[in-house]
Each structure stands twice: as C-alpha cells, then as structure tokens.
Symmetry: C2
Subunit: 194 residues, 2 copies
DNA sequence: CGTCTATTTGAATGTACTCAAAAGCGGTGG
DNA sequence: CCACCGCTTTTGAGTACATTCAAATAGACG
C-alpha cells in the first residue's frame, strides 16, 4: 500500500516519527471507487474523512427543485467529508461520488478521535486543515456575493487550472452557481476577450 | 474583569482547571469599542481573535464597486477575526467594526499559539470551533446558491431572531446578498404571507 | 427641532434562468 | 471501424428575479 501521498500531505504541517506514521497508517482503509459510484448519500451519516490519492470526487447537495450544487471537488491530495454529519454524527445533506475512477484512503471519525488523544499532533494537523478550509469557504461566499458569473468563471480557471482540462462544464457550472446553458454563453464571452 | 462569559463559552467543549483558567485569562486583553469604530481595516494584518462579551461587531468586505458584503455578525458569545490574515499573518481583505457600543476580549495569535503548546486542550477547543464555523460557512454557500432572496431572508429571521430586532435592514441586506431596496420589497412580501 | 441616514416605492434595466431545439462528442456494440 | 445512442454543449427567444436610479417618506441622533 502506498502511503507516501498522505504522509507527505501531513508533513506539510506536523512532523511524525516512524512509530507515529505506522500507527496512523494502520488506521487507514483503502478504497477504489468507480466513476459515478457514491461514497456518501444525503440523509446518511458520514463516518469517514476521505483522502484522495488518485482520481477526483465531488461533494454536492441537491436542492428542493432537484438542482445539484457542488460544494467541493476533491482531486488528489485533498480531504473530503460531509463535515456537518461527520462532527454531529447525524444525517447530512451532502452526496459524495466519483467523477472518475478514484482511489482513496478512509479515516473513520472514531479512529480520528483516538488519534487526537494518542498523537495530539493530529489535533493540530486537522485544526490547521480546517482553518484553511474555512478561509477558502469564506472567500467563496464573498466571491459569490460580489462577482459576476463571468468573473467567477475566471476565478475558477485561475484557481483550478488543472481541473478545467478534464471536467465537464456542467460540473463547473454547478460549482460556480450558474446553469450549464448560461455557463456556455459566459465561456464564449470569456474566450472572446483573450 | 468579568471572564464568566468566555469561560462558559470554552467549557462547552473542554474542561479547564483553576490554574489553566487563570493562565488563559491572563492572556486576554479587554477592549471597549464605540459604535462605528474599527478593530480591523482591510489590508491590515489581523493579530487577534476577538471574543464579544456585549454589543455586536460585523466583519465585511468592500468589493471593487464599493459595495459592502457582510461575512459575519458577532453578537455576544461569538468569536470573530479575519481568519485568512490571522493564520497567514499577511494583509487581509476584511473590515471589522462595531454596530453598537461593544465590549470584547482579545487573544493575540502569538498567545494563542503559546496556549496551544502550554495547554493542548485549547488546540482541541479551537479545532472544534473552527469545524463548526466551517459547517456554517458551507451551508451558507449552499443556501446562497439554492435559495431565493425571500427564502434567504426567511432563513436569516429563523436563524438570528434576536439580531433581527435591532439590526438596520441595510445590514441584513448586505449579509444575505441583496440591495437594501430589494430587501425592502422582499420583506413586504414576507410579512404579507404570514 | 433640524439634519442626516435608512427605508419605501416605482419605473426602467440587466443578469441570469427557462424551455426548446440543434449540434457536438464519446462510448459501445455490431 | 463505423453507426448509433445518450449525454453534454451550444444557440436562441422569452421570462423572471434582482439591480439601478430617482424621489418621497420615515426615523434616529445630536
């Protein structure tokens, strides 16, 4: 099993010795997820934090009119979960599924909490991770309130240049908060101006 | 000095003994903020986490067209900061000022980091706090994408019943992401339907 | 009080959505 | 390897939700 990615990800914020690394990796479960396969449905309880090694997941909500709104893409080296459900252990409102063939490592909330006690450095690691997510999430709120669809598309292209390549526009539309039809028109304008 | 509010706030998630409480409170600085007075301007570095005891603060961004977008209200018992600037110690894009006469306690990032090391329980406390903020922030992204202005106003009234009372509508408009003029019309519809 | 700011109301405008249809693209099976 | 099917993307016309601008009214603070 290849834990190099996740250990590298963690070493960005905390230093682990060999024993700690071994303990941590012993808690992880590997999983392969096929395209369109779900790892979480809304109204289910989210039991795991998921770290993506390869491929790409998406976390999204379906509103009362049946429209999908993507909260998060999770390309390699990203963590994803329904945070509400994970911390409350109540049914959440997020769906998480695979955009393509994906490989992940799962860390259960129970093991995570054990980890916080056994190796307090992990408390720090996830605090830092959560702080960064919060920063990104708040910036997105501001962007959604202050930018036009055209500007949000530009921001997205700039922020996720690699995702743009192999992501259906439909999904980008659902992330930046417009209809696919309108994104198509926006994109035309965007590339006209270059 | 009255630390009962903040100690009660903290005891929701972690238990402190007398010595730890004393150490923690020794790090806090008290401050009184007049209406319209700033505790942080955009392009400044945010050095403190701020806990509100009395009154109300707001954190907001001003976009390139000069419009204000409120990211957060901080009534009593809430924490507020420009998280981006606080964790990166680089200039941020948030303004924080007082909506009314307000009393706060300040915890500097340096002291906070010392606290994480001296009393690791605080690492846990702020992790939990940040997780909850993240949950709220992500739900707000979804609400902004899936709900109409009327629905967002309803959600706001339901979520912050006490704030509604003494908050200028202008500020509510700036929080839910509409113009004050339009909120005025939305509100008329809202109360017609009751 | 008087002034300044907040709120309401209305008409015109704009940005993004809806619905419908056509065109493009990709995968699958014959 | 090609043909077909389903799904995505494009295009267009009509519509809706929210903004802009302007003016009148109401309210708050010194």
């Amino acid at each position: 099993m290849d834990y190099t990615h996740i250990l590298k990800n963690i070493s960005k914020h905390i230093q682990l010795d060999a024993k700690e690394e071994k303990y941590f990796t012993s808690l992880l479960k590997e999983k392969k997820i096929k395209r369109k396969q779900f790892i979480l449905h809304e109204n289910e309880i989210c039991y795991h934090s998921t770290f993506v090694i390869k491929g790409c997941l998406r976390g999204y909500n379906i509103d009362q009119n049946g429209f999908e709104h993507i909260l998060q893409f999770a390309p390699p080296d990203w963590w994803i979960a329904d945070m509400y459900s994970l911390i409350s252990q109540k049914p959440g409102n997020l769906n998480i599924d695979a955009i393509e063939e994906t490989e992940v490592l799962l860390l259960s909330r129970k093991d995570q909490e054990k980890l916080f006690i056994e190796v307090p450095k992990f408390e720090r690691f996830f605090r830092v991770l959560t702080e960064k997510s919060l920063v990104a999430s708040r910036q997105r709120i501001l962007d959604n309130m202050s930018l036009s669809a055209l500007q949000r598309f530009g921001t997205f292209c700039h922020h996720y240049p690699t995702l743009i390549e192999h992501l259906p526009q439909k999904l980008i539309a659902s992330y930046i908060g417009v209809t696919p039809e309108f994104l198509s028109k926006v994109k035309a304008d965007y590339f006209k101006k270059l």
